[in-house]
C-alpha cells in the first residue's frame, strides 16, 4: 500500500478561518485522503477558546516530516477560509507557497461596532499577491451555493486544493476521504461542492 514518498518529500498545509467555518473538517478531509493514499500524515488542531467566534488554526503535514505544526515561513500551502485571516496568516508562507483563499468576509466584532475598519478586499488581495504570486482568490461561499449548499464552502476549498495538483493524492483517495469523514446524508452535497472547487482549480483558478 505504501508508496514511494521521497519523490515529493513533504508538503505543509496551514489552515486558518473563523470558528464555525468548518476548517477542522477540511483539515480532516486532507488527512484522510493522505491516509487513503498510503502517505504519512500528521495534523495539529487547536480546540478551545477558538470556538467563540475567534480564529481557528490547524495544519496538515504530509510526507517525510515529523512535526505536526508549521513554523513561520514554512507553509507550502495556505488554506484561508476568510480573506482577513488570509493576510493574518501570510507570515506562515514563503514566496513559492500556494494560497487558496475564500473572499467572503466575516467581519470581526471590533469592525462591526465601528472601532476598527475592515480592509478593502482589493487591498488584502494586493498585499498578499505582492509577496506570494501563487494565489487562488475565490468566493467559495458562492461556488458552494451553486453546488447546492453554502455550508459546504469548506469542501469547495478542499476541492480547489485537490485540483491544484500540489498534492500527490489521487481522485479515489479524495472520494474515500469524503466517505470516511462525512455522515452519509451529506456526502452527496459535499461531493458536488468538492467537484466545483476541483473544476475551478483545473480551469486555472478563474
Amino acid at each position: 500500500m505504501a508508496r514511494e514518498t521521497r519523490a515529493f518529500d513533504a508538503v505543509r498545509i496551514f489552515f486558518t478561518g473563523v470558528g464555525g467555518q468548518g476548517t477542522l473538517l477540511a483539515t480532516r478531509l486532507v488527512g484522510e485522503a493522505a491516509l487513503a493514499e498510503g502517505i504519512s500524515v500528521t495534523m495539529s488542531e487547536i480546540h478551545g477558546m477558538a470556538q467563540r467566534g475567534g480564529v481557528v488554526e490547524s495544519s496538515v503535514v504530509i510526507g517525510n516530516a515529523f512535526s505536526p505544526t508549521i513554523p513561520d515561513g514554512e507553509a507550502d500551502i495556505l488554506m484561508a477560509f476568510e480573506p482577513l485571516e488570509a493576510l493574518r496568516a501570510l507570515p506562515k508562507c514563503h514566496a513559492q507557497s500556494l494560497i487558496i483563499a475564500n473572499t467572503a468576509p466575516i467581519v470581526p466584532f471590533s469592525v462591526a461596532t465601528g472601532q476598527s475598519t475592515y480592509p478593502e478586499l482589493a487591498a488584502l488581495h494586493g498585499l498578499i499577491k505582492e509577496k506570494v504570486s501563487n494565489l487562488m482568490w475565490l468566493d467559495a461561499v458562492e461556488l458552494a451555493r451553486k453546488a447546492g449548499s453554502e455550508r459546504a464552502s469548506n469542501t469547495v476549498l478542499v476541492g480547489v486544493l485537490a485540483g491544484s495538483g500540489r498534492l500527490p493524492l489521487g481522485k479515489s483517495s479524495w472520494e474515500e476521504a469524503l466517505k470516511r469523514t462525512l455522515a452519509p446524508r451529506i456526502v452527496g452535497i459535499n461531493r458536488q461542492a468538492f467537484e466545483a472547487g476541483y473544476a475551478f482549480s483545473r480551469a486555472g483558478g478563474v
Partner: protein, 628 residues
C-alpha cells in the same frame, strides 16, 4: 458502534492524541474512568462518556480533579483498571491526593493523564507537571505522537500493575490535539459492568504517621526498582550517529528530527529520545553522553531533563559541553517548533542555518473570542454594571463568562484560578470600602466555589456572589455537572439543587433571577445593593441555560429574530453597553449610517429589545434552523 470500539485492525485510523489514549486504555482493559474536563484533556473523558453504555464501563464527570482521582483510586485499589485525566492545573487541585496515593498505591492498573499546555492556548499558566511526578515519586511516560500515546497508555497500565502504584502519562497540547495514524489492537471482550474486591488492610491503607513512615520507605524501594525499569525501557531509544548529541522527549522529539534533517546533520548528531522520563534513566544518559563532545537538551518549559543531564555529566567526570535553556538556545516560555530548534542547534553546534524570510503584515483588526449572541452571561453583566457601576470590584472566575473581560462589558477585575472569585471577594471586602461583586459559573461553583462560600459566611465577608447558572460546563464543551437539568433525553430534575445548597451554607440573602428578564433582574440587584451595608454574604443565582447547549439538547428551533427599525436615533447604547456580536454599525460611503442586527447571528434572546424601543421582533418561518 462507537468509532473507538471497532475491532482491532492493521488499517490505521486517524486518531486525535486524546482518542488514542482512550483506545489504549480500552485495549488495556480499563473499566473505570473519572475526570473533570479541561483543555487540552477534555476529549478523553468526553469520548469515554460517549462510549460507556456500549462498552459497559463506568464513566463519570467528577466535580473536580481531586474528587476524580480519589474515586478512581478506590476503584483501582479494588482491582478495577482505571484512568483519570486532567489538564495541567487540575493536578494542583488533585495534588493532595496524588502525593499520598503514591505511598498507598493501587492493586490494578491506574493511569493519571496530565495534559500540559505550553503557550497557554487555553489556560491560565504553563506549569511543567513533570516536576509533580518527581515530587511524588510516581513513574511518568511522555508520548510524542498519537501512536505513542496509545502505546504508552498500555505501558503505563502495565507498569502500574507491576509496581502497584499509579503511573502518570504526561502530554502536551500538541500531543493531545495532534491527529495521526494509529493501528488498532484487539479489545478485551468483557461486557459486564466493573466489579472489584476489597481486602481490609488498614495498616497499609490508612495513612496515619506510623503507616506513612513505612509506606515512605516502601515507595523509595519501589523507585529504585523503577529506576532499573527505566534504564531497560524500549521507550528510551537512540537514533542517528555522530559526535554531537541531542536529548529530548515528547513532541520536541519531532521538531528535533525535522531540524536534524533540514540542517543535514544526520551523520553528525545522535538523538536520545526519552519516553520514560521519571525515574530519569541516568545510566542511559551516561552511556549516551560518553564519547560525545556537545549535547543539547531540547525540551519545552523547564530544564527538567537538562538538570539531570548536567548532574550525570558532572558525576561521571565527562568532558562534554551541555546546552539547554538559554537566550540563544532553548527558550523556557511557550512552545517550541522546528524552526526554534534549528536556530538553537545552529547556535550550539556552530552550523549555518538560514532562517526563512518571514513576511510582515500591517496591523489588522483583532478577532478575539467573544460571548455568543444570546449568551445569558452578557445579560447578567449588563444588568450588574447598570446597578453597581464602575466603582465596584468584580473578582471573576474561569469559564465562558471570563470573556466578560472584553470591552464593552469590562466585567472582570481579578482572577487566579478556579474558585478564586469567592475567597478573593471575601479578602477584598475586608480591606476595601468599595462594593464587591464576584462572578462564578455553576460548574466552577461546584468545582471550587462551595468551600469558599462556607468560609465567607462563617467570617462575615461582605460581598455579592453572582452564580452564573447556565446549566452546563460550557467553556470546555458543554459537559454535565451536578445540577444539570438538560439531557439528550429532555429536561430532568437536577440531582443536586443549587439553590438549596447555597441556602444551606447560611448566606444572608439569596435570590434567583432569569437574566434575560432585564427589568426584573435589575430590580432584584437594586434591592441587594441596598442591603450591602448589612453584614453577610448575598448570593444571586442568575439562571438561564446556555442557548447553544439548550438548542442541542432539546433540538429547539429559533422562533424570532430582532431588527432595528427606522426610529433608531443612533445613540449607540446597544453597541457601547451590551456588545452583542450580532450588531453591526454600518457607515456606507454614501448615505446615512445605521445600526443593523445580523439576522444570521441573532439568537432571539430579546435582551436588546428590552433596553431599546427601536428594536422589534420578527417571526421566523421554519427555514432558519440551527447550524448543521
Amino acid at each position: 458502534m462507537h468509532e473507538l470500539l471497532q475491532p482491532g485492525s492493521e488499517r490505521k485510523q486517524l486518531l486525535l492524541g486524546n482518542e488514542a489514549i482512550v483506545r489504549g486504555a480500552l485495549e488495556g482493559g480499563v473499566r473505570f474512568v473519572a475526570a473533570y474536563p479541561g483543555t487540552p484533556s477534555s476529549e478523553i473523558i468526553d469520548r469515554f462518556y460517549q462510549l460507556a453504555p456500549e462498552a459497559q464501563i463506568y464513566v463519570e464527570y467528577s466535580v473536580n480533579e481531586k474528587v476524580s482521582m480519589e474515586t478512581v483510586a478506590a476503584a483501582a485499589l479494588s482491582g478495577v483498571k482505571s484512568l483519570c485525566a486532567m489538564k495541567h492545573v487540575g493536578l494542583n487541585v488533585a495534588a493532595d491526593a496524588f502525593m499520598t496515593l503514591a505511598y498507598v498505591g493501587v492493586k490494578a492498573g491506574m493511569v493519571i493523564v496530565v495534559a500540559d499546555d505550553p503557550f497557554l492556548h487555553s489556560s491560565q499558566n504553563e506549569q511543567d507537571n513533570r516536576f509533580y511526578a518527581k515530587m511524588a515519586g510516581v513513574p511518568m511516560l511522555e508520548p510524542a505522537t498519537p501512536e505513542e500515546a496509545k502505546a504508552m497508555t498500555l505501558e503505563a497500565l502495565a507498569l502500574s500493575e507491576k509496581y502497584q502504584m499509579p503511573c502518570m502519562l504526561r502530554t502536551t497540547t500538541r500531543v493531545n490535539h495532534c491527529r495521526g495514524p494509529v493501528a488498532l489492537g484487539d479489545l478485551p471482550g468483557n461486557g459486564s459492568p466493573p466489579r472489584g474486591t476489597f481486602t481490609k488492610d488498614p495498616f497499609n491503607l490508612v495513612v496515619i504517621p506510623m503507616v506513612g513512615r513505612k509506606l515512605r520507605l516502601a515507595l523509595l524501594e519501589k523507585l529504585s526498582r523503577l529506576q532499573a525499569e527505566a534504564e531497560q525501557s524500549p521507550l528510551n531509544f537512540t537514533v542517528g550517529e555522530g559526535k554531537w548529541g541531542i536529548i529530548t522527549s515528547g513532541v520536541s522529539y519531532l521538531y528535533v528530527r525535522d531540524a536534524v534533517r533540514d540542517l543535514g546533520l544526520e551523520q553528525r548528531v545522535k538523538v536520545l529520545k526519552l519516553g520514560f522520563t521519571f525515574p530519569q534513566p541516568r545510566a542511559v544518559m551516561r552511556n549516551f553522553l560518553r564519547g560525545l563532545t556537545r549535547v543539547l537538551v531540547v525540551e519545552e518549559l523547564e530544564p527538567f531533563l537538562e538538570e539531570t543531564v548536567r548532574i550525570v555529566a558532572q558525576e561521571s567526570g565527562l568532558r562534554v559541553l551541555v546546552g539547554g535553556k538559554g537566550d540563544e538556545l532553548i527558550p523556557k516560555a511557550f512552545e517550541l517548533d522546528a524552526a526554534k530548534v534549528k536556530r538553537a542547534m545552529s547556535n550550539f553546534f556552530g552550523v549555518s542555518y538560514q532562517s526563512p524570510e518571514v513576511f510582515s503584515i500591517p496591523q489588522l483588526p483583532q478577532r478575539p473570542p467573544n460571548l455568543c449572541p444570546g449568551c445569558p452571561h452578557r445579560a447578567t453583566y449588563y444588568s450588574v454594571r447598570k446597578i453597581f457601576g464602575d466603582d465596584a470590584i468584580y473578582p471573576t472566575d474561569i469559564g465562558c463568562y471570563t470573556l466578560g473581560i472584553l470591552p464593552p462589558l469590562r466585567m472582570a477585575d481579578f482572577l487566579i484560578c478556579m474558585g478564586s472569585s469567592v475567597a478573593t471577594a471575601g479578602g477584598f471586602s475586608k480591606v476595601l470600602d468599595r462594593p464587591v461583586v464576584a462572578f462564578i459559573g455553576d460548574s466552577t461553583f461546584f468545582h471550587a466555589g462551595l468551600t469558599g462560600l462556607v468560609n465567607a459566611v462563617s467570617h462575615d465577608h461582605r460581598f455579592l456572589l453572582v452564580v452564573l447558572d447556565n446549566g452546563t460546563t460550557a467553556m470546555t464543551g458543554h459537559q454535565p455537572h451536578p445540577a444539570v437539568e438538560l439531557t439528550p433525553q429532555g429536561k430532568v430534575q437536577p440531582k443536586v439543587n443549587l439553590e438549596n445548597i447555597i441556602r444551606g451554607c447560611g448566606v444572608a440573602r439569596l435570590a434567583t433571577v432569569n437574566p434575560l428578564q432585564v427589568k426584573k433582574t435589575q430590580d432584584v440587584l437594586q434591592d441587594l445593593r441596598e442591603h450591602m451595608h448589612e453584614p453577610g454574604v448575598s448570593v444571586l443565582i442568575s439562571k438561564s441555560p446556555c442557548p447553544l447547549f439548550e438548542n442541542r439538547m432539546l433540538s429547539r428551533k429559533q422562533k424570532v429574530v430582532f431588527e432595528v427599525d427606522a426610529s433608531c436615533d443612533l445613540c449607540k447604547k446597544c453597541l457601547e453597553e451590551v456588545g452583542c456580536p450580532a450588531f453591526v454599525w454600518e457607515q456606507p460611503a454614501a448615505g446615512a449610517s445605521r445600526i443593523r442586527i445580523n439576522a444570521a447571528l441573532c439568537s432571539g434572546c430579546s435582551v436588546c429589545a428590552q433596553m431599546c424601543k427601536s428594536i422589534k421582533p420578527r417571526r421566523l418561518d421554519d427555514s432558519k434552523g440551527g447550524n448543521q
